[in-house]
């Protein structure tokens, strides 16, 4: 389970100006639930994901993951977390098995268990044919499968996907989506970010719409429909963005 509390990230730009990439973000993602962070490019999704995965330190606020505070206990947070993004690389000179084993060891998976776990994952993701090939020789789809295996080798209760389908062909993307569904049925807590409305529509239990670092709306697809009276998620998204602009203008 993830509980984000007032997460804020400020970047100081070259000219000394402050940029609020993520501004006071609070939300919850429960066990067995898929929560989608939806927003255009530059909305602050990746920054938020990076803070949750402890790669970046929040400027203020924090998040609790499986009972561990990411500020005080980042290592425990990472141990309970699987992270996958569209552009995470793999070590091209190692074989798929070596990469997965390396991460398993870093995640403290017992040596005796590593082998059986890899066989299990190879079965699940249909990786037997290329398990002992060097990453360099694999296709994009195969690499993505290795990345998935790498991210769940330690069977984490929380999964974070940062635009995992970006730049992938339709078949590979479909694999990922079905994998995400499997995570949900396995009772994992899933946080997923995307800028593609249709993708969000298809897999989300709950959607958190963020824009310019702030939450515009939070709820299920059905709730959004009811609230706005609209049926298309694109329209709903634009509706929320316009609404916040109007509020901003009024304030000015």
């Amino acid at each position: 389970m993830i509980v984000a509390k007032n997460l804020t990230k400020v970047f100081i730009q070259k000219d000394g100006e402050e940029l609020y990439a993520v501004n006071d973000l609070s939300f919850t993602a429960n066990k067995g639930e898929i929560v989608v962070l939806l927003g255009v490019n530059g909305a602050g999704k990746t920054t938020c994901m990076r803070m949750l995965s402890t790669v970046l330190q929040p400027t203020s606020g924090t998040a609790i993951m499986e009972g561990f505070d990411l500020k005080n206990n980042p290592q425990k947070v990472r141990a309970n977390l699987g992270f996958l993004s569209g552009d995470t690389g793999l070590y091209s000179r190692l074989t798929a098995r070596e990469v997965i084993t390396y991460f398993a060891r870093l995640y403290d998976v017992e040596n005796a268990k590593i082998k059986s776990r890899i066989t299990e994952l190879a079965e699940l993701l249909d990786m037997h044919d290329f398990l002992d090939k060097k990453i360099d020789l694999l296709s994009t789809g195969m690499k993505q499968k290795v990345s998935i295996a790498r991210s769940i080798i330690h069977d984490p209760p929380v999964m974070i996907f940062d635009e995992p389908t970006a730049g992938l062909d339709i078949l590979t993307a479909k694999n990922i989506v079905s994998f995400i569904h499997k995570c949900k049925t396995d009772g994992k807590c899933v946080l997923f970010s995307t800028h593609i409305m249709r993708e969000a529509e298809r897999i989300a239990d709950r959607i958190v719409i963020i824009h310019e670092g702030k939450i515009l709306a939070e709820g299920s697809w059905e709730e959004f429909k009811k609230e706005t009276g609209m049926h298309d998620l694109d329209d709903i998204f634009i509706h929320f963005v316009n609404k916040i602009r109007e509020v901003g203008n009024e304030l000015q």
């Binding site: 730009q13 070259k14 990076r50 995965s53 402890t54 790669v55 970046l56 330190q57 980042p74 290592q75 990472r78 141990a79 977390l81 992270f83 993004s85 552009d87 995470t88 690389g89 793999l90 070590y91 091209s92 000179r93 190692l94 070596e98 390396y102 991460f103 060891r105 870093l106 995640y107 403290d108 060097k134 990345s147 790498r150 330690h154």
Partner: protein, 673 residues
């Protein structure tokens, strides 16, 4: 920190590197193959080349103006030499034509024989041997000819002496016999000791640089860094794991280099038949060198890891490594220079210390104390660099540096900020080069007028022009503000403690880096009143630099750096001021002086006070050097004798009190960032 995880990371990195062809070639294969190829190939090529040269035909022209038995014997003897071809005599001899032929290598030697009569009435053959030293063939021919002519001379002298019944052996009054007491091992160590440090340092750094750039910058480039950061390993474990990988690979590289070098040299010497005479390479020395290389390897690894962490990709890492590699090459060459001995000063300069120490170890002639100083000082630097690496790796703005740096374009459509750090640094470098190329040559032509031109044209004018062109408020930018008069009094009071502290500081530096007599003499000359009188000296050396240099450093630059805070701004401007004097011996004292003047300028918010302090300092130097003999206290300061170190205590206390007073006097002035 979990050592098991460090080991997992370390093992993976080694495996990964071992599969990288580039790394394997530069770190493992190159050292093994390089020496045999280089040494054996080179030596056989050399001997073959020499042989070839010996066999080549050499054309010689003899212009004999004497034509007596002795002179003709020269030509006759030359004709007997194999490969010597004596040119037919020409009808009209023109020396310049033959010198041209010599220059274009059509002939190798021109011999011009004249004669004269000595004061005692003997005939002397004047043989001029013209040859071309830039040509191997000509040099070789010259060598042979000189030997032949010496033999002929010997015969001639013999004949003359026998005519008056004197035995030629009378000439052998002194016989010089060269006896080299160095055993062959030592000779070899001497030769190896010069080249080994250079080779080892360069190979270590070049091997480690390839690996280091791959380990972090490479991960950034391949997009694997984020993957590893979200793993359960903590960042310090990652840094240490990677650091150990670089160290291991470097040790292997050095070990292979030493091993390959040892085998190759042994091979060469056994071929040359010297092994029979008991010549052995000093194996123990090689082992000690490997041991003392460890701190240097760890230092290089830490620096290279920091560079790799800072860089966004491998290409960027390579360009940042360039100055380090280039600097190391230059510094490591010190072992080639004669007369450079390891002393306390050199023992504290990185790379230079290792270069000299390795040379001494090869000669089995090293000083244990210096060995410990070299190793100890390197370990201290090592700790600093490793902690820097760890800090960089934990700094997310460095790790995820994505913003493109501003381009080097300054004068575009927009009004550029002449107070940005980047601009100031470039401006400083341009001025520095101008000073080096123009200022130095003006001053070497005529010191005083050169100084005036340098101060006005290279230092003051560019700053004023810059401020005018950028339409900056000159008065505000340079802090041309009125000062409370009491400040001037305080600066005058501070002059004596400042001078005492500077002198003691100079003495301390002199202990570590002894300043040469000639340098002291040159410095003294600079401030000695020349023919134009004391007031002229005070103006050129005292007041003018005060105005011009302060305008640049405490005016323009201090203003540019003020964003960085009160003390950082002062220190940065002072360090640039120190570098600007292009004098290693004065770098520290001048920088300290710069800090004092920076403090005055910012505290009183006025450039005038800094100018006053600067001019006062320079003027006092003139007065001291020229009038010290008339004032007993000054004599002690300027004389060769050292000032007792305890003088520093009252001087420091006085200065501290003046510091506090200046702060108090100007307390209403607020420092604006």
């Amino acid at each position: 920190m979990n050592f098991n995880k460090i080991f997992i990371i370390y093992k993976k990195e080694l495996l990964d590197l071992m599969r990288d062809r580039r790394t394997v070639i530069t770190s493992l294969i190159l050292p093994i193959v390089l020496y045999p190829l280089l040494m054996i190939g080179f030596s056989s090529m050399m001997s073959r080349q020499e042989l070839k040269l010996e066999k080549q035909e050499m054309v010689i022209y003899v212009n004999d103006n004497v034509l007596n038995i002795s002179s003709v014997s020269i030509e006759d003897e030359l004709k007997k030499v194999e490969n010597f071809q004596i040119m037919e005599e020409v009808m009209i001899f023109e020396k310049t034509t033959f010198l041209d032929l010599l220059e274009e290598n059509s002939i190798q030697v021109l011999i011009d024989i004249q004669d004269s009569v000595s004061t005692s009435g003997f005939q002397v053959l004047n043989v001029s041997v013209y040859y071309n030293l830039s040509n191997d063939k000509s040099s070789l021919a010259h060598e042979k000819i000189v030997d032949i002519i010496k033999d002929i001379e010997q015969n001639l002298v013999g004949e003359r002496l026998s005519k008056i019944n004197i035995n030629i052996e009378i000439l052998n009054a002194v016989e010089i016999k060269d006896e080299n007491i160095a055993p062959p091992e030592k000779m070899m160590s001497f030769a190896l000791g010069k080249i080994l440090p250079y080779l080892l340092i360069i190979l270590t750094i070049s091997g480690a640089s390839v690996i280091a750039s791959d380990l972090v910058a490479g991960e950034k480039e391949r997009g694997t860094l984020e993957t590893i950061l979200v793993s359960a390993a903590c960042r310090n474990e990652l840094v240490i794991g990677k650091y150990l990988t670089i160290i291991t690979m470097s040790i292997v590289t050095v070990l292979l280099n030493l091993f390959s070098m040892y085998i190759t040299f042994s091979h060469i010497f056994s071929q040359a038949g010297q092994a029979v005479d008991g010549l052995q390479l000093p194996l123990g020395n090689f082992a000690l060198i490997l041991l003392i290389m460890l701190p240097l390897i760890t230092l290089f690894s830490a620096i290279l890891l920091s560079i790799s962490t800072y860089s966004r990709n491998i290409k960027e890492a390579h360009s940042y490594q360039m100055p380090l590699i280039f600097g190391s090459i230059m510094l490591s060459m010190v072992s080639f220079l004669p007369g450079f001995e390891l002393n306390l000063g050199f023992a504290l300069i990185p790379i230079v210390n290792f270069s000299l120490l390795i040379r001494d170890i090869m000669l089995s002639n090293y000083n244990m104390m210096y060995l410990f100083i070299v190793v100890g000082s390197t370990l201290v630097l090592d700790i600093i660099m490793v902690s820097l690496s760890i800090r960089l790796f934990n700094n997310e703005t460095v790790l995820f540096r994505t913003v493109e740096e501003k381009s080097l374009k300054f004068w575009g459509k927009q009004k550029k900020d002449i107070f940005s750090t980047q601009f100031v640094v470039i401006f400083f470098l341009v001025i520095l080069f101008a000073l080096y190329y123009f200022g130095s040559s003006w001053q070497s032509k005529e010191l005083m007028s050169g100084l005036i031109k340098t101060e006005l044209l290279i230092i003051l004018l560019p700053v004023i022009l810059l401020l005018r062109i950028s339409r900056s408020d000159i008065k505000k930018s340079l802090r041309l503000n009125p000062v409370k008069p009491v400040n001037f009094l305080l600066v005058i009071l501070a002059a004596i403690p400042v001078i005492i502290l500077a002198a003691i500081f100079g003495q301390l530096i002199n202990l570590i880096y002894p300043i040469s007599e000639s340098y002291m003499e040159a410095m003294k000359n600079l401030v000695t009143v020349q023919e134009r009188g004391i007031w002229f000296s005070i103006f050129v050396i005292g007041i003018l630099p005060g105005i011009c240099e302060e305008t640049m450093f405490r005016g323009y630059m201090l203003n540019a750096f003020r964003k960085k805070g009160f003390w950082p701004a002062i220190v940065i401007a002072a360090v640039l001021f120190g570098i600007f004097h292009l004098d290693l011996f004065r770098l520290l004292p001048v920088t300290l002086l710069g800090i004092w003047m920076g403090f005055l300028a910012l505290k009183a918010n006025s450039l005038y006070l800094a100018i006053f302090a600067h001019a006062l300092n320079n003027c006092l130097a003139i007065v001291f050097v020229n009038y010290s003999d008339k004032i007993p206290f000054l004599e002690k300061l300027v004389s060769e004798e050292n000032i007792p170190f305890w003088y520093a205590i009252p001087a420091f206390l006085t200065l501290y009190a003046i510091f506090a007073s200046i702060k108090k006097v100007n307390k209403e002035i607020v420092f604006e960032e």
